[in-house]
Protein backbone atom coordinates (compact mmCIF):
# COMPACT_ATOMS: atom_id res chain seq x y z
CA UNK A 1 0.00 0.00 0.00
CA UNK A 2 2.86 2.37 0.90
CA UNK A 3 4.21 2.23 -2.67
CA UNK A 4 1.41 4.60 -3.71
CA UNK A 5 3.01 7.26 -1.47
CA UNK A 6 6.34 7.12 -3.29
CA UNK A 7 7.49 10.58 -4.45
CA UNK A 8 7.98 9.33 -8.04
CA UNK A 9 4.29 8.46 -8.23
CA UNK A 10 2.81 11.51 -6.56
CA UNK A 11 5.08 14.32 -7.79
CA UNK A 12 3.13 14.67 -11.03
CA UNK A 13 0.06 15.48 -8.86
CA UNK A 14 1.75 17.57 -6.14
CA UNK A 15 3.55 19.73 -8.72
CA UNK A 16 0.33 20.69 -10.47
CA UNK A 17 -2.06 20.87 -7.49
CA UNK A 18 -0.87 24.15 -5.81
CA UNK A 19 -2.39 26.49 -8.42
CA UNK A 20 -5.83 24.87 -8.05
CA UNK A 21 -5.58 24.86 -4.25
CA UNK A 22 -4.55 28.55 -4.26
CA UNK A 23 -7.53 29.43 -6.48
CA UNK A 24 -9.96 27.57 -4.18
CA UNK A 25 -8.33 29.05 -1.07
CA UNK A 26 -8.75 32.65 -2.32
CA UNK A 27 -12.45 32.07 -3.09
CA UNK A 28 -13.26 30.37 0.23
CA UNK A 29 -11.21 32.89 2.24
CA UNK A 30 -13.07 35.80 0.57
CA UNK A 31 -16.45 34.25 1.43
CA UNK A 32 -15.22 33.46 4.95
CA UNK A 33 -13.96 37.01 5.56
CA UNK A 34 -17.26 38.55 4.40
CA UNK A 35 -19.18 36.17 6.66
CA UNK A 36 -16.85 36.68 9.63
CA UNK A 37 -16.45 40.46 9.44
CA UNK A 38 -19.77 41.64 8.01
CA UNK A 39 -22.60 39.10 7.96
CA UNK A 40 -22.21 37.18 11.23
CA UNK A 41 -23.96 38.68 14.29
CA UNK A 42 -22.22 40.24 17.25
CA UNK A 43 -22.27 38.40 20.58
CA UNK A 44 -24.67 39.63 23.28
CA UNK A 45 -21.84 39.64 25.85
CA UNK A 46 -18.61 40.10 23.87
CA UNK A 47 -20.09 42.34 21.17
CA UNK A 48 -17.93 42.52 17.99
CA UNK A 49 -14.78 41.18 19.68
CA UNK A 50 -16.28 37.70 19.18
CA UNK A 51 -15.26 37.99 15.50
CA UNK A 52 -11.66 37.24 16.52
CA UNK A 53 -12.93 33.69 17.12
CA UNK A 54 -13.10 33.20 13.32
CA UNK A 55 -9.31 33.35 13.03
CA UNK A 56 -8.29 32.20 16.52
CA UNK A 57 -10.25 28.93 16.72
CA UNK A 58 -9.49 27.55 13.20
CA UNK A 59 -5.78 28.36 13.70
CA UNK A 60 -5.76 26.49 17.03
CA UNK A 61 -7.64 23.49 15.58
CA UNK A 62 -5.34 23.21 12.57
CA UNK A 63 -2.06 23.54 14.49
CA UNK A 64 -3.24 20.74 16.82
CA UNK A 65 -4.35 18.61 13.86
CA UNK A 66 -1.07 19.12 12.00
CA UNK A 67 1.01 18.21 15.04
CA UNK A 68 -1.04 15.02 15.53
CA UNK A 69 -0.54 14.14 11.84
CA UNK A 70 3.21 14.83 12.05
CA UNK A 71 3.47 12.52 15.08
CA UNK A 72 1.45 9.74 13.42
CA UNK A 73 3.48 9.93 10.18
CA UNK A 74 6.80 10.11 12.05
CA UNK A 75 6.01 7.07 14.20
CA UNK A 76 4.69 5.00 11.26
CA UNK A 77 7.59 6.21 9.10
CA UNK A 78 10.11 5.24 11.75
CA UNK A 79 8.59 1.78 12.39
CA UNK A 80 8.19 0.85 8.69
CA UNK A 81 11.22 2.87 7.47
CA UNK A 82 9.22 5.01 5.03
CA UNK A 83 11.35 8.08 4.24
CA UNK A 84 8.52 9.77 2.36
CA UNK A 85 6.43 9.99 5.56
CA UNK A 86 9.23 12.05 7.12
CA UNK A 87 9.28 14.27 4.06
CA UNK A 88 5.51 14.80 4.41
CA UNK A 89 5.89 15.55 8.15
CA UNK A 90 8.71 18.02 7.49
CA UNK A 91 6.58 19.76 4.85
CA UNK A 92 3.58 20.04 7.18
CA UNK A 93 5.52 21.64 10.04
CA UNK A 94 5.94 25.26 8.75
CA UNK A 95 2.20 25.87 8.40
CA UNK A 96 1.55 24.12 11.75
CA UNK A 97 4.03 26.44 13.44
CA UNK A 98 2.58 29.58 11.84
CA UNK A 99 -0.95 28.53 12.88
CA UNK A 100 0.23 28.05 16.48
CA UNK A 101 1.68 31.59 16.46
CA UNK A 102 -1.56 32.96 14.96
CA UNK A 103 -3.60 31.15 17.65
CA UNK A 104 -1.41 32.60 20.43
CA UNK A 105 -1.29 36.18 19.11
CA UNK A 106 -4.97 36.43 18.13
CA UNK A 107 -5.86 34.84 21.49
CA UNK A 108 -3.82 37.51 23.20
CA UNK A 109 -5.57 40.26 21.20
CA UNK A 110 -8.96 38.70 22.08
CA UNK A 111 -7.95 38.44 25.75
CA UNK A 112 -7.50 42.19 26.20
CA UNK A 113 -11.15 43.28 25.61
CA UNK A 114 -12.60 40.04 27.05
CA UNK A 115 -10.50 39.33 30.17
CA UNK A 116 -8.77 42.71 30.51
CA UNK A 117 -5.28 41.28 29.94
CA UNK A 118 -3.04 40.44 26.98
CA UNK A 119 -1.55 37.37 28.65
CA UNK A 120 -2.22 35.02 31.55
CA UNK A 121 -0.39 31.85 32.56
CA UNK A 122 -3.63 29.93 32.25
CA UNK A 123 -3.51 26.16 31.53
CA UNK A 124 -4.64 26.35 27.91
CA UNK A 125 -2.50 29.35 26.92
CA UNK A 126 0.58 27.86 28.58
CA UNK A 127 0.08 24.42 26.98
CA UNK A 128 -0.46 26.12 23.61
CA UNK A 129 2.81 28.03 24.06
CA UNK A 130 4.54 24.70 24.81
CA UNK A 131 3.13 23.28 21.54
CA UNK A 132 4.62 26.26 19.66
CA UNK A 133 7.99 25.53 21.29
CA UNK A 134 7.75 21.89 20.19
CA UNK A 135 7.18 23.10 16.62
CA UNK A 136 10.29 25.31 16.92
CA UNK A 137 12.40 22.43 18.28
CA UNK A 138 11.08 20.14 15.51
CA UNK A 139 11.96 22.66 12.76
CA UNK A 140 15.40 23.33 14.28
CA UNK A 141 16.10 19.56 14.42
CA UNK A 142 15.48 19.33 10.65
CA UNK A 143 17.85 22.27 10.08
CA UNK A 144 20.60 20.61 12.11
CA UNK A 145 20.26 17.01 10.83
CA UNK A 146 19.14 17.66 7.25
CA UNK A 147 17.48 14.58 5.69
CA UNK A 148 19.65 11.92 7.30
CA UNK A 149 18.70 8.93 9.44
CA UNK A 150 19.54 10.77 12.64
CA UNK A 151 16.96 13.42 11.73
CA UNK A 152 14.26 10.73 11.42
CA UNK A 153 15.05 9.39 14.88
CA UNK A 154 15.33 12.77 16.63
CA UNK A 155 12.25 14.33 15.01
CA UNK A 156 10.23 11.21 15.90
CA UNK A 157 11.28 11.52 19.55
CA UNK A 158 10.36 15.24 19.54
CA UNK A 159 6.88 14.56 18.11
CA UNK A 160 6.20 11.69 20.54
CA UNK A 161 7.20 13.94 23.47
CA UNK A 162 5.11 16.80 22.05
CA UNK A 163 1.96 14.76 21.42
CA UNK A 164 1.53 14.29 25.20
CA UNK A 165 0.73 18.00 25.27
CA UNK A 166 -2.10 17.76 22.69
CA UNK A 167 -4.74 16.12 24.97
CA UNK A 168 -3.63 18.51 27.72
CA UNK A 169 -4.49 21.46 25.45
CA UNK A 170 -7.84 19.89 24.52
CA UNK A 171 -8.96 18.98 28.06
CA UNK A 172 -7.21 21.75 30.01
CA UNK A 173 -10.48 23.70 30.18
CA UNK A 174 -12.22 20.71 31.79
CA UNK A 175 -9.37 19.62 34.10
CA UNK A 176 -8.46 23.03 35.55
CA UNK A 177 -10.11 26.35 36.28
CA UNK A 178 -9.01 28.45 33.33
CA UNK A 179 -9.99 31.74 31.76
CA UNK A 180 -11.12 29.82 28.67
CA UNK A 181 -14.69 28.60 28.46
CA UNK A 182 -15.37 24.85 27.87
CA UNK A 183 -15.69 23.67 24.24
CA UNK A 184 -18.71 25.13 22.40
CA UNK A 185 -18.45 22.72 19.48
CA UNK A 186 -18.75 18.98 20.05
CA UNK A 187 -18.71 16.29 17.37
CA UNK A 188 -20.40 13.65 19.51
CA UNK A 189 -22.93 15.81 21.36
CA UNK A 190 -24.93 18.95 20.56
CA UNK A 191 -22.91 22.14 20.04
CA UNK A 192 -23.81 25.25 22.05
CA UNK A 193 -22.79 27.69 19.29
CA UNK A 194 -25.54 29.19 17.11
CA UNK A 195 -25.54 28.30 13.40
CA UNK A 196 -25.15 31.98 12.44
CA UNK A 197 -21.70 31.80 14.06
CA UNK A 198 -20.98 28.14 13.30
CA UNK A 199 -21.14 28.53 9.50
CA UNK A 200 -18.57 31.39 9.26
CA UNK A 201 -16.35 29.41 11.65
CA UNK A 202 -16.54 26.32 9.44
CA UNK A 203 -15.92 28.35 6.26
CA UNK A 204 -12.83 29.98 7.83
CA UNK A 205 -11.66 26.54 8.99
CA UNK A 206 -12.00 25.26 5.41
CA UNK A 207 -10.01 28.26 4.12
CA UNK A 208 -7.25 27.73 6.71
CA UNK A 209 -7.13 24.00 5.87
CA UNK A 210 -6.70 24.85 2.19
CA UNK A 211 -3.91 27.29 3.06
CA UNK A 212 -2.04 24.64 5.05
CA UNK A 213 -2.53 22.21 2.14
CA UNK A 214 -1.12 24.83 -0.26
CA UNK A 215 1.96 25.45 1.91
CA UNK A 216 2.41 21.71 2.41
CA UNK A 217 2.36 21.04 -1.36
CA UNK A 218 4.83 23.85 -2.10
CA UNK A 219 7.19 22.78 0.67
CA UNK A 220 6.91 19.09 -0.32
CA UNK A 221 7.80 19.91 -3.94
CA UNK A 222 10.75 22.02 -2.73
CA UNK A 223 12.03 19.14 -0.59
CA UNK A 224 11.72 16.70 -3.51
CA UNK A 225 13.67 19.03 -5.81
CA UNK A 226 16.30 19.40 -3.05
CA UNK A 227 16.69 15.59 -2.96
CA UNK A 228 16.88 15.47 -6.76
CA UNK A 229 19.58 18.18 -6.66
CA UNK A 230 21.66 15.90 -4.44
CA UNK A 231 20.95 13.05 -6.89
CA UNK A 232 22.34 15.10 -9.79
CA UNK A 233 25.52 15.70 -7.78
CA UNK A 234 26.01 11.93 -7.50
CA UNK A 235 25.57 11.25 -11.25
Amino acid sequence: MFKYFEPNKIFSITSKAPKYVLFLFVIILTVGLIEALVLSPEDYKQSHSVRIMYVHVPAAWICLGIFSMITFLSVIGYIFKIRNFFLISKSLAPSGFVFSVIALVTGSIWGKPTWGTWWAWDARITSMLILSLFYVIYLIAWRIYDNDDKAFKITSIITVAGIINVPIIKYSVDWWNTLHQPASINILSESSIHVSMLYPLLIMTAAFTLFSLLIFLMKYNTELIKIKNKGLDRL
Binding site: F11, K19, E42, H48, S49, V55, L232, L235
Partner: protein, 75 residues
Protein backbone atom coordinates in the same frame (compact mmCIF):
# COMPACT_ATOMS: atom_id res chain seq x y z
CA UNK B 1 -22.52 51.30 7.59
CA UNK B 2 -18.81 51.39 6.63
CA UNK B 3 -17.77 53.29 9.76
CA UNK B 4 -19.75 50.75 11.83
CA UNK B 5 -17.80 47.90 10.19
CA UNK B 6 -14.53 49.73 10.84
CA UNK B 7 -15.13 50.77 14.44
CA UNK B 8 -17.19 47.74 15.56
CA UNK B 9 -18.51 49.37 18.72
CA UNK B 10 -15.00 50.24 19.87
CA UNK B 11 -13.64 46.72 19.23
CA UNK B 12 -12.47 47.50 15.66
CA UNK B 13 -8.81 47.87 16.59
CA UNK B 14 -8.74 44.42 18.22
CA UNK B 15 -10.71 42.65 15.49
CA UNK B 16 -8.92 44.23 12.52
CA UNK B 17 -5.47 43.75 14.05
CA UNK B 18 -6.20 40.03 14.66
CA UNK B 19 -7.32 39.55 11.05
CA UNK B 20 -4.45 41.66 9.69
CA UNK B 21 -1.90 39.67 11.72
CA UNK B 22 -3.33 36.41 10.34
CA UNK B 23 -3.29 37.57 6.71
CA UNK B 24 0.20 39.06 7.10
CA UNK B 25 1.48 35.72 8.40
CA UNK B 26 -0.20 33.89 5.51
CA UNK B 27 1.50 36.22 3.02
CA UNK B 28 4.91 35.96 4.69
CA UNK B 29 4.80 32.16 4.87
CA UNK B 30 3.66 31.90 1.25
CA UNK B 31 6.45 34.23 0.05
CA UNK B 32 9.17 32.44 2.08
CA UNK B 33 8.13 28.98 0.82
CA UNK B 34 7.81 30.29 -2.74
CA UNK B 35 11.34 31.79 -2.62
CA UNK B 36 12.75 28.46 -1.32
CA UNK B 37 10.94 26.64 -4.14
CA UNK B 38 12.24 28.97 -6.88
CA UNK B 39 15.79 28.79 -5.43
CA UNK B 40 15.85 24.97 -5.46
CA UNK B 41 14.36 24.82 -8.93
CA UNK B 42 16.89 27.27 -10.34
CA UNK B 43 19.66 25.21 -8.72
CA UNK B 44 18.24 22.06 -10.32
CA UNK B 45 18.00 23.60 -13.79
CA UNK B 46 21.57 24.97 -13.52
CA UNK B 47 22.93 21.58 -12.41
CA UNK B 48 20.99 19.79 -15.13
CA UNK B 49 22.36 22.18 -17.75
CA UNK B 50 25.91 21.48 -16.58
CA UNK B 51 25.58 17.69 -17.14
CA UNK B 52 27.17 16.14 -20.21
CA UNK B 53 24.82 14.55 -22.77
CA UNK B 54 25.22 11.01 -21.40
CA UNK B 55 24.51 11.98 -17.80
CA UNK B 56 21.66 14.25 -18.89
CA UNK B 57 20.11 11.28 -20.69
CA UNK B 58 20.32 9.18 -17.50
CA UNK B 59 18.89 12.01 -15.39
CA UNK B 60 16.07 12.62 -17.86
CA UNK B 61 15.05 8.96 -17.71
CA UNK B 62 13.72 9.60 -14.18
CA UNK B 63 10.10 10.75 -14.26
CA UNK B 64 10.49 13.32 -11.43
CA UNK B 65 13.37 15.06 -13.20
CA UNK B 66 11.32 15.31 -16.37
CA UNK B 67 8.41 16.66 -14.35
CA UNK B 68 10.60 19.29 -12.61
CA UNK B 69 11.98 20.47 -15.95
CA UNK B 70 8.56 20.59 -17.59
CA UNK B 71 6.83 22.48 -14.75
CA UNK B 72 8.81 25.68 -14.98
CA UNK B 73 5.96 27.92 -13.90
CA UNK B 74 4.13 26.02 -11.15
CA UNK B 75 3.20 28.02 -8.05
Amino acid sequence: MISEILTMNGYGLYVWSAFAFTLLNFTLLYVVIKIQYIKEKKKFIAKFGALNSERAKVAKSQSINKEILSNTSTI
